[in-house]
């Protein structure tokens, strides 16, 4: 059975892999799915920011007593 556009978007965002949003939107069958895709795309952007923002580990203080 073919995964719905929503399921494909959910998998892509959750797994942190690139999602072809244009293709998903083109295949959306109704307004409800389109709006869901819009918000899932936003979640994908949030995920990407946290995945790609570098961690600066040298900033941990190292004072000892």
């Amino acid at each position: 059975m073919k995964a719905s556009v929503i399921d494909r978007a959910l998998e892509g965002v959750s797994d942190g892999v690139p999602v072809d949003w244009t293709a998903l939107e083109d295949n959306a069958s109704n307004e409800f799915d389109l709006e869901c895709l819009r918000w899932l795309r936003l979640l994908g952007q949030i995920e990407a920011v946290h995945r790609t923002t570098p961690d600066d580990v040298r900033a941990v203080p190292t004072t000892t007593t």
Binding site: I6, D7, L10, E11, V13, S14, D15, G16, E35, C36, W39, L40, L42, L43, Q45, I46, E47, A48, V49, H50, R51, T53, P54, D55, D56, V57, R58, A59, V60, P61, T62, T63, T64, T65
Partner: protein, 211 residues
């Protein structure tokens, strides 16, 4: 030898910085988390330290996305996260943590509240001498740059309306970037696949909340 963090009030003193700097620290089983929380409530600094070491790396990475761009690499930023964690961990009396994932989500909110407080202080006070440099900078955070302040607020509001379990799944996966293997332990799920399903269901509910 464990890191020794708590000898001088809220100022962290680390003898084993590699523990915190290594990035990935294995999550705690739910039973261990509950036991450590109970010990923290009874004033056990060793338990506090153990929880801190587990929770700090992911939240430190998380803060990079939420603070102004100039925050990267600055000691002030890490101090904000560390001090907030220590303070929050010491005030867990009424917190009902079922697993480490819930604790991480709770601490993430505490750090976010602290960042907001500091930014409000910055906006109120023209003199910024006491403000951490990273927060005195008015450049937006990487997240605000990516999605805009309005969408960020919408997301946070929708997140609040979710059931705790859904909120914790989203925060721990999308924001704190835990792997599905880690999530299975953090969220007390039977397998990584079950953790993945939980994240996807939570995201679907969140998207519906945001509509």
């Amino acid at each position: 030898m464990p890191a020794s963090l708590f000898r001088h009030g809220t100022q962290c003193q680390l003898s084993d910085t590699q523990t915190l700097n290594s990035g990935r620290v294995p999550p705690l089983d739910p039973e261990v988390t509950l036991e450590l929380l109970e010990r923290v409530r009874h004033g056990d600094d060793g338990a506090l330290e153990a929880l801190f070491v587990r929770c700090m790396p992911a939240l430190r990475r998380w803060a990079r996305g939420r603070l102004p761009l100039s925050a990267r690499g600055m000691h002030d930023t890490v101090d904000v996260v560390q001090d907030t964690l220590l303070s929050a961990l010491r005030q867990l009396k009424d917190f009902d943590a079922r697993h480490q994932g819930a604790l991480q989500a709770y601490l993430r909110q505490a750090v976010m509240n602290r960042i907001r407080d500091l930014v409000r202080q910055r906006d109120r006070r023209p003199a910024r001498a006491e403000m951490p440099d990273a927060l005195a900078d008015e450049a937006p955070s990487p997240l605000a740059l990516a999605i805009g302040a309005e969408n960020q607020a919408l997301y946070e509001e929708a997140l609040k309306r979710l059931r705790p379990a859904d909120r914790e799944a989203i925060i721990n996966r999308l924001e704190l970037q835990h792997s599905y293997e880690e999530l299975a332990v953090l969220l007390d799920k039977p397998s990584p696949d079950a953790a993945r399903v939980a994240v996807m269901r939570a995201m679907k509910r969140l998207a519906e909340e945001m509509r």
